[in-house]
Symmetry: C2
Subunit: 223 residues, 2 copies
DNA sequence: ACCTGAACACCGTTCAAGT
DNA sequence: ACCTGAACACCGTTCAAGT
């Protein structure tokens, strides 16, 4: 009697999950009331029964992603020793979540206020730091420094997102060697002792390096 | 014979300036082909004669802002001694430009490729660093670290954008003291030797502190 | 060469109406 | 209680047509 595919009732949760799926698959611009409706086999207007507005839906997206971070970082690894290791591990996990949802940092930073879940992360972080001898003042600064790293480092500024075809012709390369010698050196293998650090840019390594600088600096400021 | 207000001819430049003005005054969402047309006293469709698409226009916005950074940082202060002082000064100037255009970091990071003007900034930075004994490898990392700071630190994650009314009732505050003691301490004046570092959050000081950590770290890595 | 009117597909959102 | 049709104001964009 029950048809093969019963249409599940809508819910805020189902809507948010569908929206995250759309964003992951087609980018944040595909997150549209009408397309969410399509994905859930209902009309766009039905969503307004569960979600106040598009803005509230977008805030829900951020909530969803930050919830993933909370879930991933709730339990510290058993063998962890010291605050540095703990915080480093959590930052790397948080980043891995952001990499799964490249649209998320933008969305999170565009919100007028941080979703409530965020406080759980901060509470945990401040706890760890204060236990390790940080003042609250310094812990507060650590929040800003680490938060802006996790959210700000995903986007790439320099190289083409693809890393695929060289966008430069030989002529352009030639001109660049004259007008911008240092960048040319940076982009050219086997010069100045680099192997072309531009072309082989490993963003993950960059992230870990910069994060290391920050953690070292915080450790020094602690003493 | 010439009427009091001659309608200036359109140009890419005029369009971009008008768009930046709209974004500064009403936010990036107000940057609309139709509203730009209104501001320039022409029809939205006319813009397409000078601008390929909305995407190209947005790229132009980023170009405009990065151009401001280039202009602000082209000449180093006469009395500057050493790379740290030079780079610190440029980062602070770059940040001040971003603060004048709060929509800019989002826009810049959303681009598939960095505008060409950006290379001028990187060339200058790499030059300064290599002259100071940085390897190209390390200079590359500095680009990432500093770039993500300048673009990522504008957005606030924690406190309400306003800093105005307390969004929390006394009850909520009470509950927070129990479930999130550390954040409660962070938010409460005269506890644990802080004067309520949350309420008195000075983002500029936070930025300079974190930037200092990075510069110190880079200096150590140089040696 | 430069600008516009008309038209299209697509948005978010409201609200009265259906079940 | 939950969902929808019709309608509105607003998008980006194309293209033939005006000057």
């Amino acid at each position: 009697m029950i048809p093969a595919t019963v249409r599940q009732p809508l819910s805020r949760e189902r809507i948010l999950v569908a929206a995250v799926g759309l964003a992951d698959a087609y980018g944040i611009s595909a997150v549209t009331m009408r397309r969410i409706g399509e994905a859930l086999d209902c009309e766009a207007m039905s969503l307004y029964y569960y979600v106040e507005s598009k803005g509230a839906l977008v805030a829900g997206l951020a909530e969803q992603v930050i919830g993933e971070v909370v879930a991933a970082t709730a339990a510290d690894p058993p063998g962890a020793t010291g605050w540095r290791e703990l915080v480093l591990g959590r930052c790397l996990l948080a980043r891995s979540v952001m990499l799964r949802h490249p649209w998320a940092p933008q969305v999170i930073m565009s919100l007028p206020e941080a979703p409530t879940v965020t406080y759980a992360i901060y509470e945990q972080l401040v706890g760890t730091l204060v236990d390790a001898g940080f003042t609250y003042e310094l812990a507060h600064r650590a929040i800003h420094a680490l938060g802006s790293m996790v959210l700000g480092f995903t986007q790439e500024l320099f190289e083409p997102a693809d890393g695929s075809a060289p966008t430069m012709t030989v002529d352009q390369m030639q001109a660049m060697t004259e007008t911008m010698p240092h960048l040319a050196a940076l982009a050219t293998p086997d010069i100045h002792g680099t192997e072309g650090s531009l072309s082989t840019c490993d963003t993950q390594a960059e992230f870990e390096f910069t994060l290391g600088l920050l953690l070292d600096g915080l450790d020094r400021a602690r003493a």
